[in-house]
């Protein structure tokens, strides 16, 4: 049983990572606190669902479409965010809250209030690895989160563009003084964020379920993971997701399902008390 719990914790953590990555990147670079993040994720899921259901597209081919839809919406959102003045964090909360309501109601109008699920039969099957059963959905989550984090890591640490993005995350003004086009970095982060949301959305519709108002749960999750990892620390996201996923799974088995959220909250508060800059934060101001 403990192996099952370990696998489930890691796969849940990987799911958290995929949900949180787009939010963490956009917030890190632009300081825009996007409360519509979860709703964009659900929108990506609905886009994939529509293509899968109405046009019988294979699930894999729904990803490019979902990415395209979220890219367009995110660019529009970025135009709105770019007009905000200081305090950017606070103003972006107000603006994105309105956008979230707009997206939610649009989804309710177009897709009704029924729960939707993208059914991919292969994902509910699995394999035995050294005597332990792992489902393909758990494997997909794990592999996709590793590949996404790996690609993002390569982009951030092995390219000039990544250097510019990291510089913007660390200090916007200093980055601008060094000749980096900070506005362009903002647009770029929105585009990469949109791709990440577009990747996570269809999986959300397949592994979770789709409902117009579930977005706020995903947003809360993304915020928690971002704080847990440390704002602007993308490499900490994977660790944060896995720790949270494992802690939740172990709590269910050892203490009961009703303690799950309590343990996550205690974990987060303890971390904030002892490491206010997140798991991998170095304590700089």
């Amino acid at each position: 049983m403990w192996t099952t719990i370990f696998i489930s914790g890691i796969s849940l953590g990987s799911f958290y990572v995929l949900v949180a990555l787009g939010f963490a990147l956009i917030f890190g670079v632009t300081r825009n606190f996007n409360l519509a993040h979860g709703d964009l994720l659900v929108l990506a899921g609905y886009s994939a669902y529509w293509l899968w259901k109405a046009w019988a597209f294979p699930f894999v081919f729904t990803f490019p479409f979902a990415i395209l839809v979220i890219l367009l919406v995110s660019l529009g959102l970025q135009r709105l965010f770019s007009r905000l003045r200081d305090p950017i964090e606070l103003n972006s909360i107000v603006l994105s809250f309105g956008v979230a309501i707009l997206i939610q109601n649009s989804m309710l109008f177009f897709f009704s209030g029924n729960y939707r699920l993208i059914r991919v039969p292969i994902l509910s099957q699995g394999i035995r690895i050294s005597g332990f059963y792992v489902s393909y959905s758990q494997l997909t989550l794990l592999l996709l989160s590793l590949v996404t984090i790996g690609t993002l890591y390569m982009l951030m640490y092995r390219t000039y563009l990544g250097k510019a993005l990291r510089a913007t995350i660390q200090d916007k003004d200093a980055a601008a003084l060094a000749g980096i086009n900070v506005a362009a970095m903002g647009t770029l982060s929105f585009c990469i964020g949109a791709v990440l949301i577009g990747l996570a959305g269809p999986l959300y519709g397949c592994i979770h379920y789709l409902y117009p108002s579930t977005g706020h749960e995903a947003t809360l999750l993304a915020i928690t993971i971002t704080i847990f990892a440390g704002v602007g620390r993308l490499n900490g996201i994977l660790l944060a997701g896995w720790i949270l996923g494992l802690a939740e799974s172990l709590t269910v088995v050892l203490c009961g399902a009703s303690w799950r959220e309590m343990v996550s909250a205690v974990l987060l508060l303890t971390l904030l008390a002892f490491r206010p800059h997140g798991l991998l934060g170095k304590g700089e101001g």
Binding site: M1, T4, I5, S8, G9, S11, L12, F15, Q104, N105, L108, S112, G113, N114, Y115, R116, L117, R119, L123, S124, G126, Y133, S135, S137, Q138, H208, Y209, Y211, P212, S213, T214, E217, L221, G245, E248, S249, L250, V252, V253, G256, A257, S258, R260, E261
Partner: protein, 412 residues
């Protein structure tokens, strides 16, 4: 130059004056029509947006059909019924403000609608303050009607779920290791408690009683725990999304209990569509469905289905029927007040509701001293080949339960 500059300003000025004149004419002319058309105003509060939007919209549709039917038949005492509909956004604070608005500003004669106790409770408190009768469409918590609020009536009650569940578990399924999981909501928690009491009385022991948060993203650890304990029957008091996730993860982990019973949120066409073949063999409870109606009400049931399908182009479900029943109760009570040539006010409508005796497709509706329906009782259904089959109680069964359900491997 000056003329050119002044021209647009003058144009705007005259446009502005014209708009005012049009507005004035509209406001003067409109009341001429509405003043002469006497209407009876009833209020409706439902979660039309937010997390309970699906159920709120369904109750709203049921109310719409009941009112349309009554208006088509000449209204109440020759007066048409006007429904003032409000959205509580699935939030108790908004529900309170909407109830205040309907009672004090709109001056409605009675209120109906409402989904889940956390929203129905606040509305009931406001309507009691204004002495306006409130017929709630979907509420279960016992405590709500035990506060001696004489203005609160509801068309559903918790015992309606408990009795058939307890019955099928003790008389037919007789599990050796039973798990009762419940969502952290008032209705689900109370259901688990009442079910435990009933089962204990019948000598059936619950091996695992566990609470979870509705909307939990992963049930795998809980499933591993259930598998380790060799649980053979699971009763889960979660809601539609919880069941979708739970059943999908049962399949993923190749865990097959002998029976999975979800009293809330499974006996719906939308649920069966979402899960497809994986929904087969699941049990649920149901108060009404197009093919499942109180014996003797087949004609009324078919008429409702017909009206509903004409209006919304889709078949109705049990939540629609709850909305329909609550609105119908209110309309009939109002009609009874006028039949007795009494003034149509809150107190008289309340009194008429206490005397109501109405046979509806969902239930034989008459309220007890607390405002609860005396005869509200669900049947236990099992999904078989994508259809709902009544399997309990025996006198209403339309087929036999398939027990134990085949394992996931056997199905593929």
């Amino acid at each position: 130059m000056e003329k050119i500059k002044k021209y647009p300003k003058n144009l705007l000025f005259w446009l502005f004056i014209c708009l005012w004149i049009i507005l004035l004419l509209v406001t003067l002319l409109l009341p001429v029509e509405t003043c002469f058309a006497a209407v009876i105003k009833i209020g409706e509060i439902n979660p039309l947006s937010g997390r309970f939007a699906k159920q709120g919209i369904e109750i709203h549709q049921g109310i719409e059909v009941a009112v349309a039917e009554a208006n088509a038949a000449g209204g109440i005492g020759g007066m048409q019924i006007q429904v003032v509909s409000r959205d509580d956004q699935s939030r108790p604070d908004v529900a309170i403000s909407r109830a205040e608005e309907l009672c004090s500003w709109e001056k409605v004669l009675a209120i109906t609608g409402g989904y889940v106790d956390s929203l129905v409770g606040p509305i009931a408190a406001v309507t009691q303050k204004y002495k306006i009768p409130y017929v709630a469409s979907a509420s279960l918590q016992k405590e709500l009607t035990q506060h001696k609020n004489p203005y609160l009536f509801r068309v559903s009650k918790l015992q309606g779920f408990v009795e058939p569940l307890c019955g099928i578990l003790t008389e037919q399924l007789k599990p050796l290791r039973l798990a009762v999981l419940y969502a952290a909501t008032p209705g689900s928690t109370e259901l688990a408690g009442e079910l435990e009491k009933c089962l204990k009385k019948q000598g059936l022991k619950i091996r695992m009683l566990e609470k979870f948060r509705p909307g939990t993203p992963d049930f795998t650890p809980l499933i591993a725990k259930l598998a380790r304990m060799k649980i053979d029957v699971i009763v889960s008091g979660g809601f539609t999304p919880d069941h979708i996730l739970f059943v999908r993860q049962l399949k993923e982990n190749r865990v097959t209990p002998k029976a999975y019973i979800g009293p809330f949120g499974i006996a719906y066409e939308s649920f069966i569509q979402a899960l497809g073949k994986d929904a087969d063999y699941l049990y649920s409870t149901c108060a009404w469905n197009p093919g499942i109606t109180l014996p003797g009400t087949e004609e009324a049931s078919a008429s409702f289905v017909n009206h509903f399908e004409k209006r919304f182009n889709q078949p109705p479900n049990t939540t629609n029927m709850h909305g329909y029943t609550s609105a119908k109760a209110l309309i009939v009570a109002m009609q009874n007040v006028l039949n007795k040539q009494l003034p149509l006010n809150g107190e008289n409508i309340r009194h008429a509701l206490t005397l109501l005796d109405l046979v509806m497709p969902m239930e034989h509706l008459h309220f007890d001293a607390q405002g609860d329906p005396e005869d509200y009782r669900h049947v236990v259904v099992q999904i078989q080949k994508g259809k709902l089959v009544v399997v309990y109680p025996p006198d209403r069964a339309s087929g036999h339960a398939i027990y134990p359900m085949p394992s996931w491997e056997q199905r593929n």
